[in-house]
Symmetry: C2
């Protein structure tokens, strides 16, 4: 199923790489301010090629969001490796997030979803759906680890895994916003440390 030779002229570009370039454009400018000329220039693709491969601008944007969501989930599950202590897990989640957020030419880009999908969410239902689903998936993944923490005694029996997870996510959301607002790496790392402390309490 991988090398099924399709008839007709073959593509002269790697769709996945093009999606990555398009993602950078959306990440810096947002959906509305990203023009097809910007996207065409960044991907080295003509407009018809973009349309042929991804559909219109909104489809392309949704594709980049989905890819970003998937990548983020991979980073998250790796950070939450259950063979490590809970405290380390949460610290790794924040470290992984900051590695993604603090990366930009002019200013840090923060999170693609929180930073750019939030604006469109009010008017574009499909964007709102992806954003909501992404946030929920993140919450759920962290919640699983919290439940495990209660079972293992890393957290008190009275702890509420669902709410702890949502608050752990909240710190990450704040890091995303603050990164884009121009906060320094030191500031963000300090918030992450304090967040771990507050969420994990005096867990071992």
């Amino acid at each position: 199923m991988k090398d099924e030779k399709k008839r007709g002229r073959p593509r002269a570009f790697d769709a996945k790489a093009a999606l990555g370039k398009a993602r950078d454009v959306f990440w810096d400018r947002g959906f509305a301010a990203a023009s097809l000329d910007n996207l065409s220039a960044a991907t080295n693709l003509n407009r018809p090629s973009l349309y042929g491969a991804f559909g219109d601008k909104e489809d392309l944007y949704l594709d980049t969001l989905e890819g970003y969501r998937q990548d983020g989930m991979d980073v998250l599950t790796e950070a939450l490796d259950p063979s490590l202590p809970l405290r380390d897990n949460i610290a790794r989640v924040y470290a992984g997030a900051l590695a993604i957020y603090l990366h930009g030419e002019t200013a840090a880009r923060g999170c693609l979803l929180i930073g750019t999908a939030s604006v469109e969410a009010v008017q574009h239902e499909r964007v709102r759906e992806v954003l909501g689903r992404s946030l929920n998936d993140f919450d759920d993944e962290i919640e699983k680890r919290m439940r495990l923490g209660v079972e293992r005694g890393e957290l008190p029996q009275s702890a509420d895994p669902e709410m702890l997870a949502r608050l752990a996510s909240a710190v990450m959301h704040s890091l995303a916003v603050r990164a884009r607002a121009g906060d320094s790496r030191e500031t963000l790392e300090a918030i992450a440390r304090s967040g771990v402390e507050l969420i994990c309490g005096s867990a071992p």
Copy 2:
């Protein structure tokens, strides 16, 4: 200084009211997707009147952000009334935030700054400056209350007021994002309650 009659034809509109209407447009659509036609229609002002009163689109947007920031600070200081217990203060901060965030025709609008200024912050330095300053001002105001809490014994002497304030803000940032992502009022209120619990610990 209030009624200095200027010569020439007087304005036929209230600039403050117009700014409020423009704010609604930016709140729903963001800066980039808000057209001058949208703004002109919402304010019932011709384009030349908009330009004459506020400058270009970016100037107008920055004006609405400043106004929103000021309004937000007023709500915040009122919520932080030091005659109330710390726990009530933080709960009131979140309640005040949600009252603002959960208000939209199609979907909740969240926070104007976090929801719409974040996108532009990367490329527009002036927007980034307002956003960063607003977040900092909020942090500082809450931090003052936290310091008072330590003095009064509402918080343990070992508490770090600066970091507690930033984490209290973090919960609010998350509420802003989640509101725009479509989360229900019940969900958001539950997060706010858990946030108060976590931040204020077992404070009286």
